[in-house]
């Protein structure tokens, strides 16, 4: 069971019910649960959307699209039913924040889903968890059942005539790509998790062809808090154009790894050295992957940056999913690059050529390189391959594989070159055998 951590710099909005038994509906109600949705019912969709816009909340899945605006894109009227879809297919390496929300505050996700439904005029929501989160599905399933039993879900919610909302929960079965919104819809429709051509965007043509709002679980769970405290108040917590707080998962070589709720714009270096207690065992920090494995790596010199979408963008990387992975001096960047690309190769859906073939050749080349068969040309070839995937693939997975690879080679080229000289790390965990075996 994941352990909860705490730090004085935290601003507990989303996580304020963590560890308080809020998975129990009565406890959740005691902790102001389902008040936000009632407020939303009273004040109507336009109020909800304006509060969401005022909050400055940006998508917590990683793309950082303003949530209020996303909701406002859904057409008012539609021949086909509208849907809310909660993306709990948390799969970006380094990321486990939604894990704790589902575990500690499942009703917040249910409530957020209902709020989104009210805002766009949907009467049905789906909560989709990654397949590995079966035990969390059980928790969410129980929460949904309790909510029905309490009259929070179903017909005439809170006794309000004509206010109906249903929620269906399910898991995937192991596919990173399904975290992409349109791929998730395909998966939910019982198909291979391959993304759809956009446009049309989900807000217009989404699940079952109906207008659909799809949000990350953390985004959805933030909605009730925003409505309770007011959008403007929420916005104040964060930085410019980056409202509120978010859950940062700090992992890797730090003293106190864990999920911390920090205001947007919080300094990365401070997060690592103060909040997470600094590098484990007093070792030297080599690099940081700041927001899940797809974000370009930062060197130890690049950490003095605010954790929000815009500042991280300016620093040449991304805020991503908030999964901060700290690498100390013992980590081989070649090995790290290989392990990263091995993941994307495994998860590429195979739809488009640059991603399918590009990740495969990157993996093959890096594997050989890592196992001592590299030559000087390989370093350029790796960069060439990655650069020629960038922006050319059907969905962002290609970029997610290419971006970190380019950064590894550019920022740690010397390590790649040293590999050629025979000064490899002593221990090579990743053998060709395993790589071949791990492929599907």
């Amino acid at each position: 069971m994941p352990t909860l951590v705490s730090h004085p710099d935290e601003v507990k909005v989303l996580s304020r019910r963590f560890g308080q038994g809020a998975a129990n509906i009565d406890r959740y109600l005691e902790l102001d649960g389902y008040k936000a949705v009632q407020k939303a019912i009273e004040n109507g969709p336009e109020w909800v959307i304006s509060e969401m816009k005022a909050s400055g909340l940006r998508g917590r899945g990683g793309a950082g699209f303003p949530t209020g605006m996303k909701w406002s894109f859904v057409p008012k009227t539609s021949e086909k039913p509208k849907y809310v879809l909660v993306n709990g297919d948390e799969s970006e390496p380094g990321t486990c924040k939604d894990h704790v929300i589902f575990l500690h505050d499942p009703h917040a996700i249910i409530e957020g889903t209902m709020i989104a439904g009210l805002a766009i005029g949907a009467k049905m929501g789906f909560i989709y968890l990654r397949g590995e989160y079966r035990y969390l599905l059980k928790i969410v399933e129980k929460a949904v059942a309790d909510a029905y039993a309490k009259g929070v879900l179903g017909k005439n919610i809170f006794g309000k005539e004509g206010v109906d909302f249903d929620i269906v929960t399910q898991t995937g079965a192991g596919a990173y790509e399904v975290g992409e919104e349109s791929a998730l819809m395909e998966s939910l429709e019982g198909k291979r998790g391959v993304p759809r051509i956009k446009p049309p965007f989900p807000a217009v043509v989404g699940l079952y062809g109906g207008p659909t709002v799809i949000n990350n679980a953390e985004t959805i769970a933030s909605a009730p808090h925003i409505l309770l405290m007011g959008g403007a108040e929420y916005a104040k917590i964060g930085s410019e154009r980056n409202g509120g707080t978010r859950l940062f998962g700090i992992s890797g070589m730090v003293e106190r790894p864990g999920i911390y709720e920090l205001p947007m714009g919080y300094n990365l270096k401070k997060a690592i050295y103060e909040v997470a207690g600094g590098v484990k065992g007093g070792k030297k920090l080599k690099a940081v992957v700041p927001g899940g494995s797809s974000c370009p790596v930062l060197t130890a010199d690049e950490l003095d940056v605010g954790l929000d979408f815009d500042q991280m963008g300016k620093a040449g990387t991304m805020l991503g999913s908030g999964g901060i992975v700290v690498l100390d001096e013992t980590v081989s960047m070649v090995e790290f690059a290989l392990r990263t690309i091995k993941f994307y190769q495994h998860e590429s859906c195979g739809w488009c050529i640059p991603c399918r073939e590009g990740t495969d050749w990157l993996k093959k080349t890096l594997t050989r390189f890592y196992n001592g068969g590299g030559n000087a040309k390989d370093i350029n070839n790796i960069q060439y391959l990655a650069e020629n995937m960038m922006g050319r693939t059907f969905c962002p997975l290609g970029d997610a594989a290419a971006m970190p690879t380019i950064a590894f080679v550019k920022k740690f080229r010397h390590e790649f070159e040293e590999y050629l000289g025979g000064t490899r790390t002593e221990k090579n965990f990743i053998t060709t055998d395993e790589l071949v075996g791990a492929a599907h």
Binding site: R192, I353, E357
Partner: protein
Amino acid sequence: MPDVTLTVDGQKITAPAGTLLIDACKTAGIQIPAFCYYPGLSLQAACRMCVVRIDKMPKLQTACTTPIAEGMVVSSESPEIAQARKATLQLLLGNHPLDCPVCDAGGQCELQDMTFKYGAAHSFYQEPKNHREEQQWSPTVYFDRPRCILCYRCVRMCGEGMDVYALGIQNRGSSAVIAPNIPASQSEDGLQHLDCEECGMCIDVCPVGALTSDTYRYKTRPWEMNHVATVCTHCGDGCKTSLGVRQTIDGSEIVRGDNRDKSGINGDFLCNKGRYGFDFANSPERITQPMLKQADGSHKAVSWDEALRFTGKKLREIREARGGGSIGVVGGNRLTNEEAYLLQKFARSVLGTNNIDHHRTADYVTFAAALSGHRDRFASQHDNEKAPAVLLIGGDPTNEAPLTAWNLRSNVRLNGARLYVANHAQIKLRRQAKAFLEIAPFGYGAVAAYLAGDDAAAQSAAHDGENLGRFREALRGEGSLLILIGSELRGNDLRRLVEFGLALPNTNFALLSDYVNAHGAADMGLLPDMLPGYQPLGGTHDYSSEYGERFSNTPGRDMVGIFDAAQTGDLAALYLVNANPVARYSVDPASLSNTFVVVHDMFLTETVRLADVILPSANLYEKSGSVTNSYGDLQLVKKASDRAGVRTDLELLVRVADAMGADVRKLVPFGKKPQANGIRADLGQTRGAQSGEADRHAVWLTSNNLEIKLSPFDPFAVLDEIQRLVPGYDLLRLQLMSGNDQHLAPAAPADLVRIEPTRRDLVLPAEDTLFTSGTLGRYSPKLVELADKYTHEPVGIPAD
């Protein structure tokens, strides 16, 4: 849709709003490369080859998914774009085997062409390519996995285009693979297989050599063949098939059939018969020498001279001794129009008989009569492509007329056409139908009557009376309707149905028949009571003066009448041209023992075995001329291959007539003036007003891939006469010569087309499946193999 104007590479182009950029460019002559894009199939955007730069867009965009917009500024080629395409090709080639020198697709491969264009010659990889053994998925389809670039065209073609869904994708990422519908775990040999309609469309759309056909693979190179576009001999749809022909010591051999340039009436489509069913032509069982029956019943090969002389002498003796009325003539359904015409002319003007018939697979006579005076109501195959509403009553196009089925499916899928299907069986096309009416057994007449307004017929028309009513109402509500009629409707039933249709505001009709020229056989008057163009014998027409003194204006015996006459000893001679009535009509061989039987044929069929004279003949792929499909679309047949020892039916008829002492010039108006109504082309004149004409004509013929044959064996000499004498065959020569189809319809004056109420329609549908083709199918090893495999419905068809 209103037009929008955009700029591509500095050039202003205009196309209807909603057009995809890739299509708009193509129309304007700007070719954007693509592997996965295929017109008419769902979009993939997977190959990323069609990336272009659009102003104000941050990234390169795929032209295949971008609808054009007013004022859009696009560049389709630039160093940036070329690099993107080159990088994609480099990735593909990383794993693609470079076995181009032996690959079927070599020389006609889209990957090769693009690599040539973008120069992705440099390889970055040292790792070995992933090799997988080639797999045979079906009697016709082979899959070479390493060559596959995963464009998914085959998967979409099989599912969306064919409604078969026998191909899918399995695994993901670099392990993703096209998979057929029978998994290894469920097949006897532990290998994957296909269970499908074997149309070969997957092979056709494959941009590389990943899917290859059993008939062609590793046989030859594309540039070693002559490619001759002609018309498929099998069903009544008349698809263009391009035959790849290679020289052999005894003529030439057809190595491949495909839809090479997609320029024919069939557009993108070709079925298994058009693709693989040419192999009968190469059969070692072909008869290649004339044979005469000996006293002991055996057949002995003789010289052409002997065979023709004997035949001419015998026929003349019989005509003189017992009269032309003692001779019967049966023509085939795979003859050219010219041959069919010449056969009946030979019968009527040389043999002096009207005992003429063919295996009728649809009642074109009633059809022509019912629609006489409505020449604009005959539908073309092309009407299936765009008609807003279609009633298909009877027939099973999926099996019997695959192009018709393809067009109907495409029309429903792409244009939202409303298809109404009425049938006694649960035919596959009901899956595309807006409404399906299950007709009671033998209920076609009742349905026709009910549709025409006879409510009393409802009881015997369909069991579901409510549905029947709704069905009629829906049809009556259509503003424009195409009615496709199966051969189940004949005689009065057919007439009633036509009446129903004519009462609607805007209705076109087509009557579906079997074999490539069943329609032409009827049009050309291979009938005892009808002259070419459905002009009844006994009526007023020009043939009395054209056909000479042996012509009689009295109707002759029909097919049944001819064999009845044989039974009663009244049939002295029977002249059969590529027909097998003995098998088709279960004729008792003994009944023909006192009849002198002459046949033109390719194989020793049940009928041929009984013949006194066997004249080895060419098939449709070995001759020139024209054919008319079920719909009345006329197309050019081009000679593709050759077989030493055989002659076309046209030539044989002329030679037999000659051997009988007939004036060949009267039979075929060939040669130069003053021959009445002959061809006016001059071959020898070097001076005067027409000097140079011969050269010009020769150049023109050559440029149209024709040979100069101003001889009695020139089919165009016969076509001249057809054009002159047959109402409705007012065709445009240039259109024909350029390989385009043109729609013809019977045009005999309405008051002339009368048929006796007691007339027998004698319609006997071929009931061919996808894998049979009358008698001929038996001599196609590939069709036989497929028919053996598919004794059941393919599993690849999902539930409704």
